[in-house]
Amino acid sequence: MNCRKAKESIQLQYDDELPPRARSALVRHLDSCRDCRRVQEQTALLSSAFDELAARTGSRTAAQLAFNDPPPLRWGTPMALAATVALMIGLWILFADVASRTPSGPLFVADQTDTTVVQAPVAAHRSPGANRRPATAHWGGVDPTTWLGLVLVLFGIAVIALRINEKSPGIYLKKVYKRS
């Protein structure tokens, strides 16, 4: 365990959300790292200060209440599904495009005019652009279908990455300690 991971674990431990295995790893790390031990002590003191402030400002009984108001916008799951579908369609378009550009014959053919076997690329024996779709100048030389595939793939990856980022405590906590 490195120091950044240890700091994440200290926070999770304070929230009582640290898994037992990570707890023992944290204990081992704290035995050898003075800085992290200090962070843990400071976090414990902060916790006492929060308790003190809470005790001085009234009862702490709100946790007994039922709060049942779900967030009105639940776009996460549909968005993840849409991202997966977009990713699949995008990849299919890109693979289909690559397949249409790849020559179907052998890559090299022997030149029959000479006794020595000279290998020349297949492309030289074909008329230029025989297997290619006409390139469009407006789209940077790439046809719109390829662009569509690329956009869909990027969209899919971006949304799935965002979802993972929100779900996984290990990933998002890195943001907290980026500065420290």
Binding site: L46, E52, R56, T57, G58, A62, A63, N68, P71, P72
Partner: protein
């Protein structure tokens, strides 16, 4: 203001039994929901505590709570019993934040806050640290402050906070951790001796 609203609000200052009787005799236009008055009565001290944890001032907290309960009474017919706790908490927080946007928090001295009965020597050190932590909390951005107050001062879990502020538990966890880290850094920068002399 709706007719009878002032009369309705006066029952908030009465004991629960008296409030229920007053409400039932006030007529259907006043008695908006079954158990509404008792619910408001039971919630009042909790809302005052919540407002104090944002405003750090008993007088302002009382005013904000009264305002929040007035709004709850006004919208009594629209409030669903299952979700009204979250609604009134959210409303109270919003009122606190809008008050803080208009003017900075008038922090009451720490001595004015009721001290819990603990070991006096330890209490003095802790009280000093708590005072500094309070100042650091006041300087946090709103989103972080709300998450920290609800989690560490109110003692709510992330699902409950999620219902109140309409954010994902994972997002809230991030905000709380960031807020704690910011408070810790603020203390170390401004008062290096906050956590003892060994730094």
């Amino acid at each position: 203001m709706r007719p009878g609203l002032e009369e309705s609000l006066s029952i908030l200052n009465q004991p629960a039994d008296a409030a229920a009787m007053a409400a039932s005799s006030a007529g259907p236009h006043v008695y908006a929901g079954a158990g509404m008055d008792v619910w408001m009565m039971s919630l009042r001290p909790r809302l005052v505590a919540l407002a104090r944890r944002f405003l750090w001032n008993a007088h302002d907290a009382e005013e904000v709570t009264q305002e929040a309960l007035m709004l709850a009474w006004k919208h009594a017919t629209e409030l669903i019993p299952a979700t009204r706790n979250a609604w009134v908490y959210r409303t109270t927080i919003n009122l606190c934040l809008s008050r803080l946007r208009r003017k900075r928090a008038q922090l009451a001295p720490m001595e004015d806050l009721v001290a819990p009965a603990t070991d006096p020597a330890r209490s003095e050190t802790l009280s000093e640290l708590a005072g500094r932590v309070r100042m650091a909390i006041c300087e946090l951005p709103e989103l972080l402050r709300v998450a920290l107050v609800l989690r560490d001062l109110e003692g709510l879990d992330y699902r409950q906070i999620s219902a109140i502020v309409h954010a994902r538990p994972a997002t809230l966890r991030l905000r709380v951790h960031r807020a704690r880290e910011t408070v810790r850094q603020t203390l170390l920068e401004r008062w290096p001796d906050s956590f003892g002399t060994d730094r």
